[in-house]
Symmetry: C2
Subunit: 188 residues, 2 copies
DNA sequence: CGCGCGATTGAGTAATTTCAAATCTAGTGG
DNA sequence: CCACTAGATTTGAAATTACTCAATCGCGCG
């Protein structure tokens, strides 16, 4: 049950009464999407932050030459959005797209703020999540600075082995910041 | 006055009464450091998160070959730490060092938690800061994926022109992820 | 079966690194 | 105030690495 997954996810950080969880849930909408659907399109508003119940998303940015770069994958239990666009109200600079059929909970900025006001301890939960997101992003920066593409590949494989069953290698290459040919040669 | 700078910084996000600010301040200590001092040393505990009142810090990681890589600079009004080590209690994997004489406020993890419990709205402030940090880190990842070193240089110069007056170019090169020789050739 | 997508392989090219040397600069002590 | 030194920057040349472009291979699905 999707609600149970969200509740257990939150309760890893903060305990909730039934009423409190109902309050939380009332601020979200629920959506099912098919593979290749876009949750956020570059150039349009980033209306929601998404919680992935099941499935897999890619956060993608295109460079000047139209080449796609994967900024992040988002799998079960992850929160994702174009956060800059979401919080600032600017047009999205990245797209968020389903790599599999995907089930998500969605929250708008006004509901995000309303929920924080209505239930202050959810702000603690969000702070923990945001800190973890910040740390993860910094680790990724670090890997670009200190590791070779081969090392980054090995780290990713070790940390998210299931990813390699779920996405084509060209997407792994895009995430690692190398061409698919180079990745192919690194592996063999 | 250092306290004023911290207060104004927080009040950009949330208003505070005098009593509330006193409460906030009582959770921090105050330190002055000289150029080249270490606030955090790799392999030791990351006891504090630091708020930079004045001066300049570098967050540095060494790779297997002992080469230094700059993960972040922290200037006036910035918060910095080895956040993973700070929150997890693990030994620091990065060092935080003064590039100039630097004045900071320091907060321990237990005071961080105590302050959040004592003054819930500071959690809102910290959430905004953490979200912004996450966004900034993601922008940096994006720049590694989509931009050339020259473009990253131009972006940095545009965004933080003062940095180029304050640090040697070899540190800029380290931050951008290229050798100092390459940076030198990119500029000319 | 054949099409399309993904993965691999090869060859040539472009970019970056490394190592070495030369030059420049700022701060120190005499 | 000058000379000196350590650190910073630039330049050169060779070696490495990754990229692009192209061709081929493999496999699953209609």
């Amino acid at each position: 049950m999707p609600e149970t997954i969200l509740r257990q996810h939150i309760e890893k950080i903060i305990p909730l009464t039934d009423d409190e969880f109902s309050l939380v849930l009332s601020h979200f909408t629920f959506e099912k999407h098919n593979k290749r659907d876009f949750l956020i399109r570059k150039g349009q508003a980033a209306k929601y932050v998404y919680f992935v119940v099941s499935g897999l998303l890619q956060l993608v940015s295109d460079d000047d030459k139209g080449k796609q770069h994967i900024v992040a994958f988002a799998m079960e239990d992850w929160w994702e959005s174009d956060y800059f666009a979401f919080f600032s109200g600017n047009k999205a600079t990245m797209s968020l797209q389903c790599l599999e059929d995907t089930v998500v909970f969605c929250i708008t900025l006004s509901n995000y703020n309303a929920l924080c006001a209505a239930l202050p301890k959810i702000e603690h939960f969000l702070l923990v999540k945001s800190n973890n997101g910040h740390i993860a992003a910094q680790q990724r920066i670090l890997s670009f600075l200190t590791s070779t593409a081969k090392q980054r590949y090995d780290q990713l494989l070790k940390r998210y082995p299931s990813l390699f069953q779920r996405v084509p290698k060209k997407l792994i290459a895009s995430y690692l910041g190398v061409s698919r040919e180079t990745l192919s040669r690194l592996i063999s």
